[in-house]
């Protein structure tokens, strides 16, 4: 098998950007990254950090949706950083490439180690994250890269959200997508850091429990939590996405009222 066959190039946002990803291992990006990016208002202007960016799907989607945004992808894995760099270099992404850069760093680094890794305090106007989300109780994947992206150890959300708060400017935006069961841990980790949280539950179908939550908040804000209507990915029957899910996934509509 040749080197070239180990990757795929996938179109997102109806072809408005493309992503190079490992074809057969690692955490392949898709729906979650698009939903997360849709939490950033299309009018957002400033510097955004995508923590644990993987191949860069969410960060590139924000760049595609928000023409006034500058994106820093932050990823620990050298292989995924390489994917991100190759994605940015694709001719299909030429219109976004100038607004995206990549930093190889561990999101869980703290204090001086974090600053030394390139993540300065009070620098980003928005921080987004799609943290590794399989708990230790789940059966680990036999594939080591995938395990790295999926195994969530105790305290991971706390560590990641602590970093997000540290590197965010006053009043910066914050958004996370995670499994719905993590909602309590997310709200606990946001407490005292990010306020005025808005929760958007993501349900596969109208009568099924939520599989994901997107939580958006603002650093230092004192407003009250809001539990928004859910996003239904599919109708009660059938395999197609709902109109709203389709629009959100394709970058045509935001996940919250401000678009």
């Amino acid at each position: 098998m040749s080197e070239a066959e180990r990757f795929t190039i996938d179109a997102f946002h109806r072809g408005r950007f493309h992503l190079l990803q490992p074809a057969d291992k690692g955490h392949r990006a898709g729906l979650d990254a698009m939903l997360l990016a849709a939490a950033v208002p299309g009018t957002f202007s400033g510097l955004l950090a995508d923590l644990g960016s993987g191949a860069g799907a969410a960060g590139l989607a924000v760049a595609s949706r928000c023409p006034a945004s500058q994106i820093l992808l932050v990823e620990r894995s050298a292989e995924m950083v390489d994917c991100a760099l190759q994605s940015i270099a694709l001719t299909q992404n030429a219109n976004l490439a100038g607004r995206i850069s990549v930093l190889q760093a561990d999101v869980e680094a703290t204090g001086r180690a974090r600053v030394a890794a390139g993540l300065d305090d009070n620098r980003f106007n928005f921080v987004i994250m799609n943290p590794p989300f399989n708990g230790p109780r789940d059966r680990p994947s036999p594939d080591s890269l995938r395990r790295d992206a999926h195994v969530m150890t105790d305290g991971l959300l706390e560590a990641w959200i602590r970093t997000a708060a540290a590197i965010a400017t006053a009043n910066a935006g914050f958004a996370i997508i995670a499994r719905a069961e993590s909602l309590g841990d997310i709200l606990a980790a946001c407490s005292g850091r990010f306020g005025a949280a808005e929760i958007r539950p993501i349900h596969p179908r109208p009568n099924a429990a939520a599989i994901r939550v997107v939580v958006r908040a603002r650093k230092g804000a004192r407003g009250m939590l809001k539990l928004m209507p859910p996003l239904m990915l599919h109708a009660e029957e059938g395999r197609g996405f709902t109109d709203e899910a389709n629009a959100v996934i394709n970058g045509e509509r935001g996940l919250f009222a401000d678009r």
Copy 2:
């Protein structure tokens, strides 16, 4: 004005029980109490405490829905305790009266004071609560009884849920209705006490944020949080309740899948 005119007698569950309430002051019971009662499975058998029961609406609704339940209404206000006693004595409630008793006690009492007040540890198979829910930031009501029922001081949810955990048996059920904005505080207070939480958001209409959440959990359970589909009280247009809301409010359908 005669003494009799200061109260109303209202029918609930399509007339299956009645409630005597102050006509012109206090926190008048209704929707919230019916939604809370609907979190208890109709098959529930055992002793249930309704903490901060007011006139007893939620507790009587559980008694009406769950023929194998025994109910203890726990209320601090002497006037509301008197209402509850008069409600139980109504001829319309004769079929429930033998399964309901009333205790005048402060839910926030701790340790020996709580036991002395009649709230023993490890005694109840289910605990429900509809705590006073207006935060100090809200304008207080000029009416003192209403203020007592609505003003939530910092730490109230923590104190109430601590009491619930103390008086609940191992694996006992727990359910709370509260303003949606309190979701984070509820989950934090449940942490380490009640697990396997199920959240049911209550929305006025499909495109509006949730106004209430009902959270149900189990003492000592280790299962994961589940974010259930929302209950819509009304459709996009019109003043009538949705079919589901009507059935839930009238005791014909539970708020969770187990009925």
